[in-house]
Subunit: 366 residues, 2 copies
Amino acid sequence: MAHPVADMPNPEHIEHDSMLSRSPAELHYATYQDVESLVPADLYDKSEEEVLRSYHSGNVLPLLVFLGLDESRAEALRYKSYAGAPYFALDITPKGGLAQKAQKIIDAMEAKGLSFQNTRTITSLSPGDAAIYAQSRAIVDWNIRNAFCGTCGHPTISIHAGTKRACPPTDLGLVENGASAGAARPPCHTRTTISNLSFPRTDPTIIVAVLSHDSNRILLGRQKRWPPNWYSTLAGFIEPGESVEDAVRREVWEESGVTLSRVLIHSTQPWPYPANLMIGAIAQVAKPENEKISLVHDPELEDARWFETAEVEEAMRVGTSALGSEPGPEYKQGGLRLPPKTAIAYQLISAVVKGEYLGAPHESKI
Amino acid sequence: MAHPVADMPNPEHIEHDSMLSRSPAELHYATYQDVESLVPADLYDKSEEEVLRSYHSGNVLPLLVFLGLDESRAEALRYKSYAGAPYFALDITPKGGLAQKAQKIIDAMEAKGLSFQNTRTITSLSPGDAAIYAQSRAIVDWNIRNAFCGTCGHPTISIHAGTKRACPPTDLGLVENGASAGAARPPCHTRTTISNLSFPRTDPTIIVAVLSHDSNRILLGRQKRWPPNWYSTLAGFIEPGESVEDAVRREVWEESGVTLSRVLIHSTQPWPYPANLMIGAIAQVAKPENEKISLVHDPELEDARWFETAEVEEAMRVGTSALGSEPGPEYKQGGLRLPPKTAIAYQLISAVVKGEYLGAPHESKI
């Protein structure tokens, strides 16, 4: 079984994902002065213990995430052994008790010519900005999805500068409301042990380029919603208790019926929609009888097919593009289309064509 | 920053983790007859839509997880294109409305000579049984930790044979209790989009064996709670928006101060306590000045140190053991101790010593 595949943005599954920016090709960095009305200067002053002890369900605090330091600007801030300009992500969605303040910030930003850009612009950003946006989006989104404790159902609060959520044992708001149990909330397992639920979630997925037993063909698949002739590598979520290697074998079998022999992990790419980590592999089939395509196990793919290496190489040259874009001028109608160079899918196809790890195609290795 | 390290079982963090078995070296497989009183024969008969529509907060159903088919026993069951003996995991923790039935099953099992075995026995199991137990434990544990919806705080229910949790839009129990809103529960984001919270969580971690610039030394670290002279590879959780390669570089720098050059992913191992996936890497430092040890960034390790390859090779021969066990008879007091061969940590150290990917030690490659 597979959840929706992770290698390409899928508009139905994208949430909490716009950023205030002047154009899709750049991030706009606001200053503290720009958001001062929403962010108290002492927001991070309390220790975890103090924050938990003083939890009051009637108080609403903004979600501010510390991202890290730009060490090339060492003069900006010095703290212990660290020096650099600190970066933060702030959720300015107008909601609850902070709606008015957040809206005012948005209005002021829009008056400066900024507007909300769609998250897909991540591929138009510079690598540095894309990394900062990916980290921001992943952590803010995780906080929003986990406003309540999965184990006991009560509200959680953001601590550790946005990178942890805790389930407070007491609520000073309960005292004011005259609850008989005083300030105590019901017991929760996440408070007495270290629970993974308290920390950001990352969903590991596999994505794999598969070479035929004779090294002459590459296995690619396509989803129905993709444009005609557009194919990509197979992909899917890793299941509980699986190794990456086993997940690659299972997904390829489920989606295409093909049984793999060698599986090697090649490289990885985070994809923060909402929290995927794509682990790229290259793999090979050992025997011709293991190459038979079957789509009966999983309705995910509309088609899976072996393509001659030469056809794939030609498509890498003329037929690559992002999902919503057109291929280059040399592309001939009806020819194979592939993901862009920035996608790990392309990099894996390229690795297989070049013979990385598995040896060069056109020479049988098995 | 790093959450508790993942490569070794840590008793403080282990939960929901005992199994009924005759000895720590084997799993006991109960039959449907053994658990019939707890598991209605029609438990899986309804579609996801029907289960959601008929949700009644007053009804308590047992958590039964479908694990897969043993295809070597094709005669057991045939369904569509599948044939084999189905395996399930059942949570028999005595709790709530099912406590009495569950306790009766436990009593009957114990009367047969079975008892609850500690989860650490996973390393004593055969590889096949260990894989089945790891999958069972991971999925049961995830269900237990996520009894409530992280996004809206209301109870979730198990669907898809234990591999998905859904937040029902209605509760027939509300009608009986005379709620004015009829059967409707408050709106929740997880119902209108595909949310990762509905699917099992796996926490990807990195674990890495690091070779010095001259290929003559290996970087290892130790935690305070480990026995004297016991060292292992460095490890830590992958953070949001990070690639595996970047996480390796960050963790090694945080825990040891060492700055890496090449990072290659070697192999992976699931570690279901509660849901870790260890992604093993091997790496190398490019320049002597990047090898300086510093422990100031992270209090996780008590020590990190470069060991000569010869000393590591000797420890691989005489000094390996599980954390709670003693090394072999040839081990000399005060010598380096290492994790056992079954741990991915050992496999990575072995890969570096053998020169896999990075080239053989004792010859400078940079």
